[in-house]
Amino acid sequence: MRRRETLRLILLMALPLLLLSGLLVASIATAGPKKKPPSFPLILFSQATPDDYIDERACARCHAASAASMANSPHAPYMQDPHLALGFQGCQACHGPGGPHVAHRAEADHPYQYVISYTRAKPAEIAQACLRCHNDTLTLDHWRRTGHARANVTCTDCHQIHWRDRLGKDQAGTQGQKDPAGILDPAGKLARTPVFPAQPEPKALLKADEPTLCGRCHQAEANEFRHNFHHPVPEGRMVCSDCHDPHPTKDLRKRFHTFKQNCITCHPEVAGPFVYEHDPVSDLTGDGCLECHRPHGSSNPRLLNAFSRGLCLQCHSDKATHFTGRTCWQAGCHASPHGSNHDVLFFRP
């Protein structure tokens, strides 16, 4: 029996590796040139000559408001370094060399094949352009593997490069035509939030505070924070990225450096390891914290997925009539349900 299980284990480990290596070899063997030639927008940079880069003050002639708002963006210092190559400085670092754009500006089918317009480019093109510089946190290959990429969500859906303040008014004092960032979209807004001003400052270049921003697409999750019991996101003690990381490289910490789940970052008292672990819920064999808790919000106290002793009855169904006086952990008995260092029945921590 044990030998069979060991064999199954070895097979389980070996099979994906074999498949992966087989596909890798097959792909390499059948592949043509190792790299595809660059396409738009990277081709703008790869084919540019130094003469194609213009003095960026020329940009401000036509794009005065954008230039002014950019100057006050937290992004600005990164682009003014004179030691950078021309293609990484100022406006042209993001929008491509200005020479072809200017030269073709009068053509009828101009101008968006000679300049990167972030309101018109495709999601993958935007990611390619942004990740020319942001390789220290994320590469294009990382981005392609994210769920956001598969759903055509790209950098500028969340990040606002030309900085605007919270009223949608840019720092140059100009008035926008329409709320370009969608920051006034109410889907993610929560009724409690205005009463608790001590909210964390949105990370640099985000279009809005995280619950509002994420709630524009993840409405069902945003709505869960309206339950009677919820993680304190509406009150500003937490933001979405405390648990979720849209940039997968930073997930390294969360993926590798926690025993059990992310939850113990803020709840270290339940991390253990305990001498007596509550086995199915300890993330060693079951689903960990999610076996009992709904992380966004719940109508039950302590974010539980059932009320009172109903939580325990889901597994311990033989205890339906066992001391029905009160909730199992509040009746003074199983006071330490996450684990105990002293008692196998979790009577005390």
């Binding site: 109410p186 069902a220 009160r326």
Partner: protein, 593 residues
């Protein structure tokens, strides 16, 4: 004391404002004043798809201009100091612990926000500081600093918060205070190192037990010190590497829990030898130690990859293993967790299809190294996304998971405690029209433990939408309802089904932004829980009505005034002493220098 502190801050800020030599906020020169405007007569010929600011002008003749010869001499730079203060009153009657369950709003005079962004060295360094509710029970400070054109970047926060375990008993508040610092240095354009430090101090006070007596869970006074070092970036032609070290030290000053010290190192590498192939691998080792107990060790390894089989088809494979050596744990006999999965994605015209399978296994041995069992879970998952019509998008996903070799319980009843079957299906329909967008979601969840004849299932509905009535006026509404069912072998009252309450949430929000100086929003949120509550416990049959009116008006030079009025009512139909009513009034005013 709090008022004195706030007054002191106001005085300090007044002095600071007086000393501030910031120029008046500059604005971009109006288009009519720029020389380029005179050249814009043929702007319309440049194409009809000009962006908003392009439409202002278009130099047709002199491009590119000679360096230094353009009309825009320098980019405008705006140091600013923003002061936002006000007065607030809770007008609270009823259970204060429930009202302050998660946080404490400001009370009396308070400094809502102080934000300061000075100029250090124009366009080379950047500093931003924000302090909120300083002097109040809850406060928060954030800062960002970029030096040397952003090659050295820092971020930090400082915060304190008081909250309650909601109860009918009079108890002291729980407290949390923490601060964190992050510094990141770019070694090259593609590689950086970062140091993250975080310190949390928390005092948790729990509600005492109820009528059954017995010991309460003891109060805790705990601290957690965390730091990590991460080096990451491009390495090799098409590779990305990450090397990290984490140190975490937990202490409970009450002695309820032992001190726990955790260190771990991790290494990961993403390699994309071809545009169509990527491999991501990582390993880590973690050491966990407690006083007078043998050290624990956890090793993790993971490898995943994806291959583009065709122009519209992608295959992902993943495998991860976790080996646990936890000698101090006596009953959780897992020594190895393995998980393997594949996911096949295919793009059809207008549709995306994903199907996948996951296999997970736990290898369990006792502390004396004797074999126990090997439970394994097999999961089938799928997802279909696409457009039904031009304005309607459908997203359907689901999974089916079964457990094999179910582990027996070591308690009096040997039947397994694990769900041996779980399935879920979820459908979402989104509609988008020029002024209206809406969505409907439905989710069904089901879990079954066949050995114990126990089942739990739930149906969750959400309907919502936004109507942009005018460019300045929008209406948002959403309604969500959850129904839960449960049954088990023992049907004597009270049984499982009596502890699975239904609930609903409704939201209506009207937002008015006119003419971008004035913003007003009305938000009404209503929730209710329908619960058999056979033990007549608090927090089981609740109803909340939260009305929040918030508005602000911004004057021409950046000053603004704001008002928040929030009449909230919370009631518990079983335990009336949990009820509270409040009508928070918050009046604020801000000035910008």
């Amino acid at each position: 004391m709090r008022t004195l502190t706030t007054m002191g801050l106001w005085i300090w800020l007044a002095v600071a404002c007086g000393a501030q030599q910031a120029p008046a906020p500059q604005t971009a020169p109006p288009a009519s004043q720029t020389p380029s405007k005179t050249d814009s007569s043929s702007a319309g010929q440049a194409g009809s798809q000009q962006s908003g600011d392009q439409a202002a002008s278009g130099n047709q003749t002199g491009l590119p201009p000679a360096p230094g010869g353009g009309p825009v001499k320098d980019r405008p730079l705006h140091p600013f100091l923003l002061l936002d203060g006000g007065w607030s009153n809770w007008n609270l009657t009823g259970n204060e612990r429930k009202f302050r369950q998660y946080a404490t709003p400001p009370q009396d005079w308070f400094l809502k926000d102080l934000r300061y962004r000075p100029l250090i060295t124009p366009q080379k360094e950047d500093l931003f500081v924000s302090l909120k509710d300083i002097g109040q029970t809850d406060y928060r400070g954030d800062a960002r600093l970029a030096l040397e054109y952003g090659r050295l970047y820092g971020r930090g926060f400082l915060s304190e918060n008081k909250f309650f375990d909601p109860t009918t008993f009079v108890i002291d508040p729980s407290e949390w205070r923490g601060y964190g610092l992050l510094a990141s240095q770019a070694l090259t354009r593609d590689f950086s190192i970062s140091l993250d430090y975080r310190d949390d101090e928390e005092r948790l006070r729990f509600a005492p037990p109820g009528t059954a007596g017995g010991p309460a869970f003891p109060d805790l006074s705990q601290s957690n010190h965390y730091w990590d070092l991460l080096a990451s970036g491009k390495l090799g032609g098409r590779g990305y590497a990450g090397l990290s070290f984490v140190d975490n030290r937990y202490s409970d000053h009450t002695g309820t829990f032992p001190d726990v010290s955790t260190q771990s190192v991790g290494l990961s590498y993403l390699w994309t030898p071809l545009d169509t192939v990527g491999v991501d691998a990582g390993v880590s080792r973690m050491w966990i130690s407690e006083p007078d107990l043998p050290a624990n060790r956890i090793d993790r390894s993971a490898i995943s990859g994806d291959v583009e089989i065709g122009p519209d088809t992608n295959l992902q494979l993943a495998f991860q293993r976790q080996h646990l050596d936890l000698p101090e744990v006596r009953n959780a006999w897992v020594r190895d967790n393995q998980e393997g999965s594949f996911l096949l994605s295919h793009h059809l015209p207008g549709w995306n299809l994903q199907v996948g399978m996951r296999f997970r296994q736990a290898y369990r041995i006792r502390g004396d190294q004797s074999f126990v069992d090997t439970p394994h879970w097999t999961t089938l998952q799928g997802r279909l996304t696409g457009r039904i019509y031009s304005h309607l998008r459908l997203n359907v996903r689901g999974f089916y998971e079964s457990l094999g070799n179910s582990p027996p319980s070591v308690l009096s009843d040997p039947q397994s405690l694990y769900w041996n079957l779980r399935d879920s299906v979820s459908a979402r329909l989104d509609g988008n029209w020029p002024n209206v967008s809406g969505y409907v979601t439905y989710t069904h969840q089901h879990e079954r433990n066949s050995g114990r004849q126990t089942e739990v299932s739930g149906d969750l509905y959400t309907v919502g939408g936004v109507w942009q009535m005018t460019p300045a006026l929008s209406l948002f509404g959403e309604f969500a309802h959850e129904s839960w069912y449960g049954r088990t072998l023992d049907t004597s009252f009270p049984t499982l089904g009596n502890f699975l309450p239904d609930s609903r949430i409704g939201v209506v929000e009207l937002a008015w932004n006119l003419p971008r100086r004035l913003q007003v929003s009305f938000n009404y949120t209503d929730f209710a829980t329908y619960n058999d509550n056979p033990l007549l416990l608090p927090d089981g049959n609740t109803h909340g009505e939260f009305f929040t009116l918030s508005g602000s008006y911004q004057f021409r030079h950046g000053e603004s005034i704001g008002l928040v009025f929030s009449p909230w009512a919370y009631s518990d139909a079983v335990v009336g002493t949990m009820d509270y009513n409040t009508a928070v009034i918050m009046v604020t005013g801000s000035a910008r220098f």
